[in-house]
């Protein structure tokens, strides 16, 4: 019965692999960063499903760390890299 959780995790991993295309193609820097955030959430879901499927509850702590640090990357990106107009070219626009 635990195989169905592995199957769900497999579906989510396929979703991650498909979302990779947006990193390579995304026109602005924010698109790329949003994909990284979606990866974080998908990773949390995969870890939760694997914790149930493999019957290993330690994985919940890893998911906790994932969700704790999920906000950090995007916030640093917005406050440091994207905001402020003096860093032209850093925003990744095809100028």
């Amino acid at each position: 019965m635990s195989r169905i959780y592995i199957f769900f995790a497999l579906i989510l991993l396929a979703a991650i692999a498909a979302g990779m295309v947006r990193i390579l193609r995304g026109p602005t820097a924010a698109d790329r960063m949003m994909v990284a955030q979606l990866f974080g959430t998908c990773g949390v879901a995969i870890l939760l499903l694997l914790a149930k499927g493999l019957d290993n509850m330690v994985l919940l702590d890893i998911a906790l760390v994932f969700s704790l640090l999920a906000a950090l990357a995007t916030m640093t990106f917005v406050r440091r890299t994207w905001q402020g107009n003096d860093g032209e070219g850093a925003d990744g626009y095809p100028s």
Binding site: I4, F8, I11, L12, A15, I16, A18, G19, V21, R22, T28, A30, D31, M33, M34, V35, Q37, L38, G40, T41, C42, V44, A45, L48, L49, K52, M57, L60, A63, L64, S67, L68, A70, A71, T74, M75, V78, R79, W82, Q83, D91
Partner: protein, 100 residues
Amino acid sequence: MDILHNAGMFFIILGLPFFLSGTVGLLRFPDIFTRLHALTKADNVGLGLIIFGLALQSDSWLMVARLFLIWLLVLIASSASCHLVARCAMQKKIQPWSRP
């Protein structure tokens, strides 16, 4: 016990399409704001339904508390960062997509 297990499985299966539609929306939508819309649905509702299903199936209250703590953290993270991205995109005068 069995009905709780089945209900949990129902919620997990209900949550999966949100993640898939989040990915598809991120790939197919035309501009930043619509992609943010797709992303937040995957973050909040998809993970929320999966966590709700797993919490129905778990057998100790400590596990339920940990699962909901994870969901709370992801909610805070995704809402705060999506708000920041959208506000910064508005400040940068990025035009929202409209039907041509």
